[in-house]
């Protein structure tokens, strides 16, 4: 990590933590997480199930809904605000590379994104406490689950960052990233419908829900890892291209 990147990253995290959105989000996330977790527990209580509570948690609608909604809200202001208030000019006339600015924003928002998932771990901790460790925590599947949460988050956040560099209007940025992320997420479901095996293969490759299911069951697959990392890199590079293009046009 370069020095400039570190300085920029600190400022990004500071800006996020100083914004009211951050704390509202954290509160809402805790509420919805708690609600969804208690539903998972209620489901488990209906009888003998072959899932762990975290497997259910990462599969149910609440989790995905949150993920899809959350990212556009987190990323919409990243560049839009800088372009709207003109601070981008101040930022880019300091001796820093465009790439450092983009990476700092990306890692800054990723940091906060990961922070937002801490309440879900608290849910598990309380669950273990209340049930007196009736079922020990399956650490490896749990680790894989959060790895997947991180990877999916990286791709979605990079899409959000890209949307944010396109416009100086935050609402427009949010709509663009929401649409892209939702389409990407729901495209996976087409694999249930498509007959052609080649297409099904392709769609399975981006079927986030199924990938999450196998990761939370403790089954590691390297393909999704490659997919999310390369997707992230793709959108970060695209962001850089747009940034350069915006400067060419003044």
């Amino acid at each position: 990590m370069t020095r400039a990147l570190w300085i920029l990253w600190k400022r990004e995290v500071g800006a996020i933590l100083h914004s009211p959105i951050a704390w509202v989000l954290l509160t809402c996330m805790s509420l919805i997480n708690g609600f969804s977790f208690s539903q998972c527990v209620a489901y488990l209580g209906q009888g003998v199930k072959e899932f762990t509570v975290m497997q259910i948690y990462f599969y149910i609608f609440h989790f995905w809904f949150l993920l899809i909604i959350l990212v556009p809200i987190l990323t919409m202001r990243l560049f839009s605000e800088e372009y709207k208030t003109g601070t981008i000019e101040m930022l880019l006339t300091a001796p820093v590379k465009d790439g450092d600015v983009i990476l700092a924003k990306f890692f800054g928002v990723l940091f906060f994104y990961l922070l937002l998932w801490i309440p879900s771990l608290l849910g598990l901790a309380i669950f273990q406490l209340v049930t007196h460790q009736a079922v020990p925590v399956a650490w490896i599947p749990l680790g894989f689950s959060y790895l997947m949460v991180t990877l999916v988050g990286m791709l979605y956040l990079s899409i959000g960052l890209f949307a944010s560099v396109l416009t100086r209007n935050q609402a427009v940025a949010a709509m663009i990233s929401f649409t892209m992320i939702a389409l990407l997420f729901f495209a996976g479901f087409l694999s249930y419908l498509v007959r052609d095996p080649g297409w099904r293969e392709v769609l399975n490759y981006i079927f986030t829900l199924e990938q999450m299911r196998s990761f939370s069951a403790g089954l590691f697959d390297s393909r999704p890892v490659v997919f999310y990392l390369s997707g992230t890199a793709f959108f970060l590079i695209l962001t850089r291209q747009v940034m350069t293009g915006r400067r060419l046009n003044g």
Binding site: R11, A15, T85, G86, E89, M90
Partner: protein, 308 residues
């Protein structure tokens, strides 16, 4: 310090800068002057490495643009128009962040920030949140930001825009003070600012340089200024006689107070008619109670050079 040759900036919509050439030497304080939309900001943005030029050669602070952009950016201090700042940060915290970003070492940062806080009169508000500051203070924070890494060249885009007269005055003093030991290029459309602060002016209009000279020379380029006299004479014949002086272009009667009449006598550009007018008054033995020459002001130069 700044060398610009044939600089062109083209947008999809047209040409903002159309082949300008100028230079700024070390130690100069130069005013970059032009009406709104003349291409001042675009040029400054190219000098700071923010905008890539469409064509032309730029050398700033000993480094070429756009190839050595990072080097240039480290050597110059730039205050953009409207002074964009992060409103949620505190003044001191912001300057520390900016200083570190501009490669001031960890050991020097406290010293440098303290120095620019003092220089820009911000010491009392250093713990305040930028968003809560008045426009005048925000402007000072912008200047402190431009200064924090001790650059050899300052580029200020309309540094006094939007300030009240008191703030403008103190801001100009500050710039004057800073100009003693560094090179400054500042843009403005307020002419008195250039007259007060700068040694030289570059006048730009519609993306082209109209003039680049010292203020004294610029003033010489337009009419030497009108002569105002107040005499006791017959209005019609006095006007006629004044008009007959070879180099006089216009004689206008301004007003009458009893028998006293005042005239404004305008000479052809660059001509001095004081001797001739004085000779006439003596020959005619008109009683005289006012003889005054209006000095040509930069404003006249500006209007003449930038009108269509």
């Amino acid at each position: 310090m700044i060398q610009v040759e044939n600089l062109i900036k083209r947008y999809a919509g047209g040409e903002a800068v159309r082949g300008i050439t100028f230079s700024v030497e070390k130690g100069e304080v130069v005013g970059f002057l032009g009406p709104n939309g003349a291409g001042k900001s675009t040029t400054m943005r190219m000098l700071t490495g923010y905008l890539p030029p469409t064509d032309g050669r730029i050398e700033v602070a000993g480094a070429k643009l756009p190839q050595e952009s990072l080097l240039v950016r480290q050597r110059i201090g730039y205050m953009p128009e409207n002074v964009p700042l992060y409103p949620e940060m505190r003044v001191e915290e912001f300057l520390e962040y900016r200083g570190r970003l501009k490669r001031v070492s960890r050991g020097d940062i406290t010293h440098r920030v303290g120095l620019v806080l003092d220089q820009c009169g911000l010491t009392d508000v250093r713990k305040k949140i930028i968003g809560s500051l008045s426009k005048g203070f925000r402007q000072r924070v912008g200047l402190a930001d431009a200064l924090v890494h001790n650059p050899m060249l300052l580029i200020l885009d309309e540094p006094t825009a939007g300030l009240d007269p008191h703030q403008i005055r103190s801001f100009r003093e500050l710039i004057k003070e800073l100009g003693k030991d560094r090179t400054i290029l500042l843009s403005t459309h307020i002419l008195s600012e250039v007259e007060m602060v700068c040694g030289r002016a570059i006048i730009i209009n519609k993306g082209k340089i109209e003039a680049s000279d010292t203020l004294a020379n610029l003033e010489k380029r337009v009419q030497a200024g009108a002569l105002q006299i107040e005499v006791k004479a017959d209005p019609a014949s006095a006007k006629e006689k004044l008009g007959k002086i070879a180099e006089v272009s216009v004689v206008a009667e301004l007003n009458r107070a009893g028998d006293w009449i005042s005239f404004e006598v305008t000479a052809a550009p660059g001509k001095d008619i004081r001797g001739e007018v004085d000779g006439l008054i003596k020959r005619e033995q008109w009683p005289l109670r006012e003889f005054r020459r209006e000095k040509a002001r930069l404003e006249d130069v500006f209007v003449e050079l930038t009108q269509d």
